[in-house]
């Protein structure tokens, strides 16, 4: 499986064309021969866009899996310190949508100590079955007991798809279990769809740029993905409980851990931009740190949280806790005003779900205008101070 290069047809011009097409610098031309190096990401652009007949793609008879043996869309339900993480509910809602396409059941898996009551709360969010691993061994999150329990669940129930919240816990647990199953795992999906053949279509921003990648796991089960908090919407709580709780047996393997938790301290309540109703976000359109003062003032007037893009965080102008995007937080406010932000996919992935997006940028071609509901092409250095004056005048 992979790229096949027909070097008999190779000319320096064709080689150069192909090298230019490859976004990853994975093609090398030496001694009249083009070769592929380890930077290849199999995007197949050289096959699709290159000179005809030179590069081709060969699919090998792939490992196959009997997909009919794997049934159900499963959500890992994160409960820490007796609190259900809200991403769990969002995923249960999405799991229902996905499961309905293929007539599968929705499962939840809960791991914790003395957790039955909390687990039954999840039955109000549309799961068909919630599988519960309840033992003292799970009173604190440590990797071995949790992954043993999770793996036990997968072996017994054989779910087709597994959705895990991309929290720090989820991002530590999911890869561990996926590797153990020999399964694929796609991180931080922003769109999920289900094919009729039960292949989960996972879409996420990719390659550190303005590109979305659609990823599938056609020859392996289960299919794992993680999803950030606030990407999907939580379903309404139903008054009546639906589905059933299934208590799972605890094995000795789940009780062994090479990690001992000495203490677990609640983090001091921090500013959390992901909970804000209004966000004022700043990007590289701000030329110096002191210029952020006007954004701060606007944020205060609107009762908004101030946020920023990665470059501003890297420059030290804004705290990493206020960073929006794939490497920062995801926000879903009622209003977000983006000032001087070009709008990379990385950033957009962290705010696209906002109810109302206003963007101010002096570049008409900025990608932020593709995600904004309202775009203002203009100079933020003039618009923002004028707006502040106007708001103050209106309030006075």
């Amino acid at each position: 499986m992979g790229l096949i290069i027909n070097n008999e047809k190779m000319t320096p011009e064709n080689a150069q064309k192909l090298i230019d097409i490859c976004p990853f610098g994975a093609l090398e031309y030496q001694g009249g021969k083009l070769s592929v190096n380890a930077a290849c990401k199999s995007c197949k652009l050289c096959v699709k866009k290159g000179p005809a007949g030179i590069v081709s793609w060969q699919d090998e008879t792939a490992k196959t899996v009997d997909k009919s043996q794997w049934n159900g869309v499963c959500v890992f339900c994160e409960i820490v310190d007796g609190k259900i993480h809200p991403v769990t509910l969002e995923l249960l809602g999405k799991a229902r949508e996905l499961a309905d396409v293929i007539g599968h059941k929705v499962y939840g898996v809960v791991i914790g100590d003395n957790i039955k009551e909390k687990a039954s709360e999840l039955l109000h969010y549309g799961a068909d079955k919630i599988f519960v691993y309840d033992d003292k061994a799970f009173s604190q999150f440590t990797i071995t007991p949790y992954s043993e329990a999770f793996y036990d669940f997968i072996e017994k129930i054989k779910p087709s798809s597994i959705l895990v919240g991309a929290t720090n816990l989820g991002r530590s647990l999911a890869p561990r279990v996926a590797a153990r199953c020999g399964a694929g795992l796609t991180a931080d999906c922003t769109i999920l769809k289900m094919k009729e053949n039960t292949d989960l279509v996972q879409i996420r921003p990719a390659f550190g740029g303005n590109i979305m990648a659609q990823i599938v796991t056609p020859n392996a089960r289960p299919q794992f993905c993680t999803v950030r908090y606030k990407i999907f919407s939580a379903p309404e709580r139903t008054d009546a409980a639906y589905g059933e709780l299934v208590m799972m047996d605890i094995t000795d393997a789940m009780k062994k851990s090479g990690t001992e938790i000495i203490c677990s301290k609640e983090k001091p309540k921090e500013i959390d931009i992901s909970e804000a109703d209004i966000v004022v976000a700043c990007g590289r359109g701000f030329q110096k740190e002191s210029d952020l003062a006007m954004a701060k003032e606007l944020a205060e007037l609107l009762g908004a949280q101030l946020a920023g893009t990665r470059p501003l965080v890297e420059a030290g102008w804004i705290s990493p806790k206020r960073q929006i995007g794939l490497s920062g937080r995801t926000v879903k406010p009622k209003l977000i005003i983006c000032l001087g932000i070009s709008g990379s996919v990385q950033f957009a992935a962290g705010m696209k779900g906002s109810d109302y997006i206003i963007a101010v940028n002096n570049n008409r071609d900025a990608s932020i205008f593709d995600v904004a509901h309202v775009g203002l092409v203009g100079n933020l250095y003039e618009i923002v101070p004028a707006l502040i004056e106007k708001i103050k005048g209106g309030k006075a």
Binding site: N37, F141, A179, A187, G208, G209, F369, G394
Partner: protein, 263 residues
């Protein structure tokens, strides 16, 4: 203590875009650098080595030019490096990458601890560390903010679990991933740069150099996930773009905020 730090060479800029008409990726410069998150892992490794009279070895997988990233790690303080570079490693997803790194770890010999950055800036998945730990059959803990103590076959760290900070004591050997800003990374040393023979200290291995490598677990072949297609992000429909003088735009913005009752 024998410490292995895994690093990745990533694009220097994030400016990769898709031409919406032709679907071709547009590259803006091909500069590369060490994944910024790995710098915190390296620093944690070097200071742990200093405290325990140990050494740091570095490991990477990538194209031949990833050697440059490993050279930098040597100039910072690593004693030797391994680069896994072969077309057969190419197209690897997280599963295949962690398999390859596990082979590289074996090439580097005995170890007490493996340190990774929390994620990369190009993939942003944060998954390779935990998968690697699983493949090696060792304990791991992610998002480590501080190493408190390391002795008697255990390491004690604090780790960020979103709402709580755990203080955990973990049996060695283990793998930890380091949170951003856990320390202040050191710069490459000029003296080391002058005096080291990097080509001697960086071993480059292809799949053929690793006797127990199973090609079915590596690269594209070993990747359960497949990229079906890549495409530019969807645009929001029903958007409204206004141009005009700053005063006009300010009025417009004020009106929008008022009618929607934000002010």
């Amino acid at each position: 203590m024998n410490i292995i730090v895994c690093v990745k060479q990533v694009p220097g800029t994030n400016k990769v875009a898709v031409d919406p008409v032709t679907g071709v990726l547009i590259r803006d410069g091909v500069d590369s650098k060490i994944n910024p998150y790995d710098l915190f892992a390296l620093e944690e490794g070097f200071s742990l080595a200093e405290k325990t009279d140990g050494c740091v070895k570095t490991l990477s997988m990538g194209p031949p030019q990833a050697k440059e990233a490993l050279k930098e790690t040597l100039w910072m303080g690593a004693s030797e490096s391994v680069l896994l570079s072969d077309r057969k490693f190419g197209g690897a997803d997280v599963a295949a990458t962690s398999c390859a790194l596990a082979l590289g770890i074996k090439k580097l010999g005995e170890y007490d601890i493996i340190i990774c950055g929390k994620q990369t800036t190009d993939g942003d998945t944060a998954q390779v560390g935990p998968e690697l730990a699983q493949r090696l059959g060792i304990e791991h803990i992610a998002n480590v903010t501080e190493i408190l103590e390391c002795r008697d076959g255990y390491i004690t760290v604090t780790a960020d679990l979103d709402t709580v900070i755990q203080t955990a004591k973990i049996k060695l050997p283990c793998l930890i991933t380091i949170e951003k800003d856990a320390n202040t990374p050191r710069l490459p040393s000029y003296n080391r740069k002058k005096s080291m023979d990097c080509d001697e200290l960086i071993k480059v291995y292809s799949v053929a150099d690793i006797p127990d490598a199973d090609e079915n677990m590596l690269g594209l072949k070993g990747s359960p996930t497949q990229v079906e297609r890549i495409f530019p992000p969807e645009k929001n429909s029903g958007q409204e773009i206004s141009e005009g003088s700053s005063d006009e735009l300010c009025d417009k913005l004020f009106e929008l905020l008022s009618t929607r009752k934000f002010i």
